[in-house]
Amino acid sequence: MTAVGAPTGISQGSRTRGGVGESTLRPDGVLKVTGAFAYASDMWHEDMLWGQILRSTVAHAEIVSVDTSEALATPGVYAVMTYDDLPTGVRHYGLEIRDTPVLAHGKVRHHGEPVAIVAADHPETARRAAARITVEYRELPLVTDEASATAPGAVLVHEHRTDHHAAHVPHPNIVHRQPIVRGDADAAAGRADVIVTGDYSFGMQDQAFLGPESGLAVPGEDGGVDLYIATQWLHSDLRQIAPVLGLPEDRVRMTLSGVGGAFGGREDLSMQIHACLLALRTGKPVKMVYNRFESFFGHVHRHPARLHYEHGATRDGRLTHVRCRIVLDGGAYASASPAVVGNAASLSVGPYVCDDVDIEALALYSNNPPCGAMRGFGAVQACFAYEAQMDKVARELGLDPVEFRRINAMEQGTLMPTGQSVDSPAPVAELLRRIKAMPMPPERQWESSEGADVRQLPGGLSNTTHGEGVVRGVGYAVGIKNVGFSEGFDDYSTARVRLEAAGGRPVVTVHTAMAEVGQGGVTVHAQIARTELGVTQVTIEPADTRVGSAGSTSASRQTYVTGGAVKHACEQVRERVLDIGRRRFGSHHPAWAGAGLLLEGGKVVTDGGEVLADLVDVLEDEVIEVEREWRHRPTEPFDPRTGQGNGHVQYSFAAHRAVVEVDTELGLVKVVELACAQDVGKALNPLSVIGQIQGGTVQGLGIALMEEVVVDPVTAEVKNPSFTDYLLPTILDTPALPVDVLELADDHAPYGLRGVGEAPTLSSTLAVLAAVRDATGLALDRTPVRPEHLTGTA
């Protein structure tokens, strides 16, 4: 079903086999499909112990006492540690604000917070010993929403805040608040012919990566530790781990182990410090693996949100103003909340032209589960609301929803609410045109010669309808996502590239600390090296901390930034090898003196294709190795009062059309087709690009219809920490996913590429919901939409 059409030719190859633009296959693909890939949870070490965490059973309480004596007395137990056993004065960690205790101290702030850790010679022994630790709690009042967070006399989730946001927030239970004011929304509202308001509620989504948190810490002879870990950013982990252990960073040696998905959920630490503490305490290797239940408590989730929007428009369909207020629930610890707030605020209007805006986004501290990074990072919640609003305004104006979007679509040069000019292609109208022009799936697609095919109907094999009550709906949405780290963050990557001759052939080795979490970075980096150095044989070394930081595998940034670093390092290698060539062979051919020499097919060639020398002859015994840091254009912080500033590096855009069948009596939904058009600047690996778009699209579908971590509003306990009750789309829930890829180069980015991974998660959700609204006529102001919401039985 995958259609690829692009004005610039998506599958253009390079002149070196396996280079940029080719759909080279992933080195880990077959291993993963056949079950042979070694994930972090598969690691084993002789004499290793198993670590186990004891987590809080209540959401907010003082810890009156912790009794570990019975656990310590359990045969097979080597160590039990609590806050008091931490080796140094640094006992907290955090991505931006170090507010998270390694082990709870004095109080617990959310259900499932780590209180104590155990190491034993068998995982079952460790679990039992942990269960024998007695913790006495005195429960405290709960902060669960904005009202309870900011009520007079509200209990403070964190007392005595000293972080850099504390001074500018209106209440200590607000992590960070970002207003954006541009133009004059009040005056603009006076010009509006229609004003539409809406209140929306967005549920808590889990990353639900299939490989749970796991790692193996091995104590070193030098008093340091080797940590093999599934993570998204080795060096960020390292910065947080080493001080707690009281070790210099060079004695905490980290190596990436097999990562089974991430989606933002591995940006924060999970058991990294715990495993190292137990290994250093016992002098033995310690392995820790969460099971699925614990995984739901072991990482941050996507922020649930409440969003209030007001849109105004003139009769001819032009937006006059947007006012909005986005309240994100950050849960008990800050994690990435401040940056999520910045994203939600700055992207809150969507990919539209609107000069008069009044925006406020904030994240709460509460006793709900901590929330942080997840694919789409604040932009997802905003898109859910602004696109629902765009449909509402269009209906109010009697305009076609796609036409209304097209009228207001931003383009290159449009100013964002932050005042930043979008200075690369922004083909919003074109994406909408393409998505609308795609052929529609046939009506009553479930009918076959043998009657109704239930697999094609809502309910699927559960056999709930043979066509009764089924109504089709169609919905459209488009979204905007930033690429890379924003707001002045020094977002760089490091790459080390080596070129040498081995066995009569030139070979390249690329070493970065980039976390391959399934996104395909290792494939793309090899392609870049082939293209830049004209060498087919490229080896990607395992990611570890022996090389400089590659930044996070998030924010759709790895192909851009670490890819940029690999490209940059390759260019330096190329200059060096050409220098050697000039020295050795310069007198043989005048072209050596000219510019524009290339490396292709293992040879030095002129830009006219004339071969000057074999690389192996140039190199002889020389090994050329270059390590370089590479940065994208710098960004600026947003002004704390007006939100103005060039805060983002790059924007990416995707549009979706959803076609659904709704069983209007049972409230069950079958998504028939979810088509996407996305601009990727340049597809370095078209197959991977389409995979990213399809994966993000399905993750967005999950938000729309089923995925939600349900937190009890009274106890703040997680109600569904299992795959029995936290539902992910199965293949039978996954529709045909036609993809139309546009390649309009961003001249600021390597090869003109645009980060791909997140944009498709934004508009997918709202397209599905818009289609369900179209089928049912219901307002549907929350996500996920469950059967009870469609049948008036909620």
């Binding site: 094999l461 056999n463 089923m706 059967p787």
Partner: protein, 296 residues
């Protein structure tokens, strides 16, 4: 936890008599989840994997004797003609991997109201063959479910087989989950027409503390079919009667609000499924009558 591995049925019964707390395990699709999550730590686990005849079935003149450990996959593949309702229900159980291991005995042993087999067994009027060192008895399915996750088995008894009458008329099964495959039931409904006895039987899953029949609804519908001579003349059942039947099925529910769905939704959905499954089976019955008459 001690692990018992009886070599045959006699050893299994003896072991169960000696250790009445022993939890039997066959496919393990339910028991292992509970153990892995720490919800259950039985003193003894009894593996029935070596008791071969539990995975066998016999198709008799009127009845199928279905071994307790016959995997759902087998039921789908081999018994869809004899036990159409149970075969449809089997199709909705979890994933192919689970269906390859799980069987009806596990559903009955756990007696969770969410077990997919229950509505079909209730609608078909099955009997559970329970055995102990004291002997063998057959427990009518209507008397089997005694409370939330409780059943009529004595502590020394094991489920050996289920006896289900071969379908004498159309049967249907519907289940609502929040996704289109591999989902635990929010609620489920089974319905079987029994032309031989001129009766309709129902089964409701996940909408009461135990799997239940909609007794009043069945009586109402039986009367409608009888009074109109509909079993004989094959006429349509009036929409108002079908609607009333559906309402009575919904009224037979005693559901709760939980993370999977609201009580109101479950009641509503059972009504919709009752109406649809009856309509499908009755249309099928009428169609079959016409075909038969045409052949004559």
């Amino acid at each position: 936890m001690d692990f018992l591995r009886p070599a045959d049925w006699e050893e299994a019964l003896a072991a169960k008599a000696e250790h009445p707390t022993a939890v039997p395990i066959a496919g393990g699709t339910d028991v292992m989840v509970e153990i892995n999550f720490g919800h259950r730590r039985p003193e003894y686990l009894m593996d029935l994997g070596r008791v071969g005849d539990l995975a066998e079935w016999e198709v008799g003149e009127d009845c199928v004797r279905l071994g307790a450990a016959v995997p759902y996959t087998r039921i789908m593949e081999h018994l869809s003609a004899e036990l159409p309702g149970l075969a449809l229900a089997s199709h909705t159980v979890a994933s192919p991997q689970i269906r390859n291991r799980g069987g009806v005995g596990g559903n009955l042993g756990t007696a969770s109201p969410a077990g997919d087999a229950h509505p079909a067994l209730l609608a078909a009027g099955a009997e559970v063959e329970a055995a102990s060192v004291r002997g063998v008895r057959r427990i009518p399915i209507d008397a089997f479910y005694t409370g939330v996750k409780r059943n009529a088995l004595e502590p020394d008894e094991l489920i050996r087989a289920v006896h289900v009458a071969k379908a004498d008329g159309p049967q249907q099964f519907s289940k609502v989950g929040t996704r289109n495959a591999m989902v635990i039931a929010v609620c489920a409904f089974g319905l079987a027409l029994h032309p031989a006895t001129r009766t309709v039987r129902t089964g409701i899953g996940s909408a009461a503390p135990t799997p239940v029949r909609a007794g009043a609804a069945e009586e109402f519908l039986n009367a409608v079919l009888e009074e109109g001579g509909l079993w004989e003349n094959g006429k349509i059942v009036t929409p108002s009667a079908v609607k009333r039947f559906a309402e009575l099925c919904a009224a037979a529910c005693d559901p709760i609000d939980d993370v999977r769905g609201t009580a109101d939704y479950r009641r509503h959905a059972v009504g919709v499924m009752a109406r649809r499954t009856f309509t499908w089976t009755w249309e099928s019955y009428r169609g079959a009558r016409r075909t038969t008459e045409g052949a004559v």
